[in-house]
Subunit: 224 residues, 2 copies
DNA sequence: AAGTTTAAGTAGTATTACTATCATAAACGA
DNA sequence: TCGTTTATGATAGTAATACTACTTAAACTT
């Protein structure tokens, strides 16, 4: 299969769909590179406009502000992860097996997906690890939520927590357990790199394998 | 007992010890109020200087910038929490019992502690819930860590994870489990309030009890 | 070819996050 | 009591940020 795909995202995420124009695609591609390189706080529309050889005002026509752009990128990521989970668990009857596949996909290191040529998934994963919590840790969280912008993340959480409920119908906290696990899946990788005394995971090629191992232990032991 | 106490914090947290002067204490007291009221992003030294009827320059003599001030406040909180855990678990032989006390203290709603008249602990707990992750989610994390500013949090994590190891010496991830639990203890309360579909906890007087119940389930099931 | 929608560039503003300098007043030591 | 640290305050200034408003250019329609 050689077709390129497009994820359907909530139109409230943008003022003008960046997937619909050349400039829009350049904004996404270069925003990922730039945030990955300098971090979200230092990232500005001015710097982005220089790197795509355009202007601040043009970028403001696509996104209300840089926070909304971050929400767009992070939502793209979770929607993509959920798509992969749906794809890989399709036609698998055993709930336990489906849960393991889902946890694996969440925990693992992401490579380039040829279906989406404009998105650098490995860079985007690094952004998720370092910046994703900033999407909701803001005073605007309720407004943003009202517009439905967290649907991607919430839907992913629901997908996995319902597998948990299928396995252990009496378990009281499937949503809390899975949201905790989703957060842990990037927090622990961050700790491994920057605050290693907070985690047994160690920065190396296999952090992501250890990450999977930890998540598996956490989730399976908790619901059993 | 009627003496007031003072927590010993790493001097790198400040340029000049705010606990040593009247102005310093006013800065801490009003910073807590102001961040609680308007959030960390909207909080500025200018606004703080107006609320304490002083000047920006004076505040800059105590803290390098507003991020360092946040690190100071959050460190104060975790150091205080660890002090409480030490106090309450002292002389208790049974590790399982000590673990439950520690989880309870982490999870519970904080009231005013008369030992520290200048600190509004309930407001500070709200700041921890909404802003604490911003202390380390920054490009400066490695520099800040090198100065030892995360010692409070790391020490708390170690204290509890060593109880875990005492109970289950073969468990592979005591640090990861406890850092995950510490993060969950404020994340789940945040979700209950702002993104309730990510958690079974519900905003009400007993969120903190449910929080304890969830943490207990998570930790005890995982290590058993 | 004229008119109209749409995209993109130019220019400007208020605020933020500082830094630097100088004045003054209290506190402290000899 | 005189002189000197030390703490705070007042004032000003700067580069960068996060926008907004206005204007021009291109593209598409009739």
């Amino acid at each position: 299969m050689n077709t390129t795909l497009q994820l359907n995202l909530n139109p409230n995420l943008y003022l003008k769909d960046p997937q619909s124009t050349e400039l829009g695609k350049k904004i996404i591609e270069n925003a990922i590179n730039l945030i990955d390189k300098i971090g979200f706080e230092a990232f500005t529309f001015k710097k982005l406009s220089v790197s795509i050889d355009s202007t601040e005002a043009s970028i403001y026509r696509y996104f209300e502000n840089k926070h909304r752009l971050l929400v767009y990128l992070i939502t793209w990521y979770w929607t993509w992860v959920e798509y992969n989970i749906q794809f890989e668990t399709h036609n698998i009857a055993d709930a336990h097996e489906r849960l393991l596949i889902a946890l694996k996909i969440i925990a693992e290191k992401k490579g380039k997906d040829q279906n989406f040529p404009d998105v650098d998934e490995p860079a985007l994963q690094r952004i998720v690890i370092a910046e994703s919590d900033k999407t909701y840790l803001t005073r605007e969280v309720d407004d943003i939520n009202k517009e439905g912008l967290f649907r991607g993340y919430k839907s992913l959480c629901k997908t996995i927590s319902s597998i948990v409920s299928e396995i252990s119908p009496d378990f009281k906290f499937p949503d809390a357990l899975i949201s905790t696990s989703l957060e842990a899946s990037h927090q622990q990788v961050f700790f491994a790199k920057h605050l290693p005394s907070l985690s047994e995971l160690r920065e190396a090629d296999d952090v992501f394998e250890e990450n999977f191992h930890f998540l598996k232990t956490l989730v399976l032991n908790t619901i059993r």
